[in-house]
Symmetry: C2
Subunit: 401 residues, 2 copies
């Protein structure tokens, strides 16, 4: 009989959002009338229509696929040149950052990339993961069993921006603007991380999925704004949140050719070649119409539509911030990120607060403890919602006073 | 410094099709005039337009994404119910095979699924892989290092349908209709495999990507036509070849709840739960418009268009078969599969024949040895091509006489 990967048995039974869905469903079954007015501010899923530029590109590509002359079969596993070029040019070179087209790997999303990256990593690594953080980092490490995970504690004191520890690490996950806390890292803070990574020859996996929501001047939009990062950092991006692509599925990972790993006998290899081989062998590229839709986000209309979209969600964040302020509930985030990270009042637990908001206001939030032990006593509000829902949610929150 | 996955260093430098592309490119650079008339019968990539039903579904879904009322964000990681149901109903239950909707896992393609499946498999397994076969099975096993691989030798004598060995295995890869040989397995042959798997509590990974090309009556279209297979077989399918989806990206894997694996201390777990967890944690589902396009292949128009499409390619196969017969070159396949598996005349090597056909007929084929040592002395012709190209390729082949 085939052996299973027993690491899976070390995972908690439910993925956070599956657990939330289960509890909401139970509430709905018991309270069908009240549940009709549920407002979901839990999972960070976009609600607004796809930018018109992307829709037009989907239509055009569908028509191309309908004619022999313009039909496209297998595409390059790492993405079409047109998209790799648009990304490298607009997100990097236009900002003075020297990233080559072939250092961009197009994928069907950041979740897959950050999970799949562990395929090219060996055993015996010391892996530093923030706490609280997006649960996929921890879960995929548990599944892969690539090394020893230790946590970088985010606290009120450090503003949920943990700084480098005293001990060395080989792999470091960072996510700014942060999911779930909405915190952003300043340039000096990222400089400290890059210096640490270079001192230990470590690799930083930098998750920049929420970059488009940065509004404050001076906050780095990419880890590569820090000199030296090109030799120690891999950056992941997604079109899910800026372009509303959660259902369309496209993202990318930047793997500079200068980021190195080693074998057990000390030989040094570039992660770029390993990732390229991984993607060529285990992946068949992103749907052609989807890549055209992503490319369209970089057109001048597309960029304007992305700005409208991200600003819409950030106005939602402002409304939530206003309601929380009037309630006197301390929170952070919501300024450069679509998430608000709220301290649970009266010393209750995250899940207690989840139940309270569900039962007494029919609002679904995400319990902070779902993102790690340091999230206990907090909850996350997502600003990805329709305006009317946000306004109603704010009214209900304020009425809880 | 982070340790790399050293298994990657055990891979040959180039993926087969990358090596072919390199050699073709070198020929093109040296012979620009002749290379203008190249006919590519190497990689098995479709050439004909997407079925109209799928194109219409892509357009409709793009429009849905453009309006707030019908916009869709994150979908279920395992696929939308509408598609899981269409697959289970049409491909299985309509044929009297009892597969539940939730045993269908929608993905972006079979290559990913057969590669990713190793995530849920533990170490120490005995893994049986045919030779010759689709190189991804071997390469992904080398990368994952999950166990000891041994080969099931396909030969002229067994018609490239290897039968169960004397020794036990835990995981067995089977692919029928076969890539690259075009061989199909009869019902008694599959019965022998299912009996073997049940005797050893082994799991069969059955790759049915070319199922839609079966024309001979009596040849099983699914491993689940064999009683008992539901407790030992996982079946992978793709819309790449029947629906022309190589650039659209959609496939699925059937994981019956009754297929089990074990821990090192002998506890038994269903692979279904492990795969569901793997997909929920490491994957975010297939693009919504793509899932609608796949669903459309099951409509009555869609089914008719798929039949036209697969018949078109099988007529190409018939033309190739006719040319090979007139040349007197022994071959198999091309009857229930879009691939013809041809013996290299005059005892030359596969790569010699590749060069001969490239240089003297400007035809690109796939050298058999690229699919494993047992493929030496053979080459594969793909029937996925425009009719005019096939006719011209046949003329050139015949003129080599």
């Amino acid at each position: 009989m085939a052996f299973i990967n027993e690491n899976f048995l070390k995972l908690s039974e439910n993925y956070l959002f599956a657990e939330i869905a289960k509890r909401v469903e139970a509430y709905r079954a018991a309270n069908p009338d009240k549940a009709r007015h549920l407002i979901r501010c839990g999972i960070g899923d976009v609600t607004e229509p796809l930018p018109q530029a992307a829709v037009a590109a989907l239509h055009k590509a569908a028509d191309e696929m309908a004619a022999r002359e313009t039909f496209r079969g297998y595409g390059p596993e790492s993405g079409y040149d047109f998209l790799r070029h648009a990304i490298a040019e607009n997100d990097y070179r236009a900002r003075g950052l020297s990233i080559d087209d072939d250092e961009i790997f197009v994928s069907d999303g950041s979740k897959c990339d950050c999970a799949n990256f562990l395929d090219i990593v060996g055993s015996g690594n010391r892996i530093a993961i923030p706490n609280p953080v997006y649960p996929v980092y921890v879960d995929t490490n548990v599944m892969a069993g690539r090394g020893e995970v230790f946590f970088l504690e985010g606290t009120r004191e450090n503003g949920f921006v943990p700084m480098p520890p005293d001990c060395p690490a080989d792999l470091i996950y960072l996510c700014f603007p942060n999911n779930p806390t909405g915190a952003v890292a300043s340039r000096p803070q990222l400089e400290a991380w890059v210096a640490y990574a270079r001192r230990h020859n470590a690799v930083i996996l930098f998750d920049g999925a929420y970059e488009a929501f940065i509004r404050s001047p001076g906050i780095p939009h990419s880890i590569y704004e820090i000199p030296g990062a090109e030799s120690c950092a891999i950056e992941m991006h997604s079109f899910s949140k800026n372009g509303g692509f959660t259902g369309v599925r496209c993202g990318f990972t930047v793997v500079p050719k200068t980021v190195m790993g080693k074998t057990s006998d000390g030989k040094v290899y570039p992660f770029h070649a390993l990732w390229k081989r991984r993607q060529s062998t285990k992946f068949n590229g992103v749907s052609y119409p989807v890549q055209r839709a992503a490319e369209a986000l970089y057109s001048s209309e597309g960029q304007a539509q992305v700005t409208v979209l991200t600003s819409f969600y950030m106005e939602n964040a402002r409304l939530f911030a206003q309601a929380l302020t009037s309630l006197g509930w301390p929170f952070s985030g919501g300024v450069d990120a679509p998430y608000l990270w709220v301290r649970v009042p009266d010393g209750r637990s995250s899940w207690d607060m989840f139940s309270h908001l569900l039962e007494d206001a029919q609002i679904v939030v995400t319990p902070g403890v779902g993102f790690g032990s340091q999230g206990e006593g907090f909850f996350r509000i997502s600003s990805f919602n329709a305006r009317a829902s946000v306004e109603e949610a704010c009214r209900r929150l304020v009425s809880l006073r």
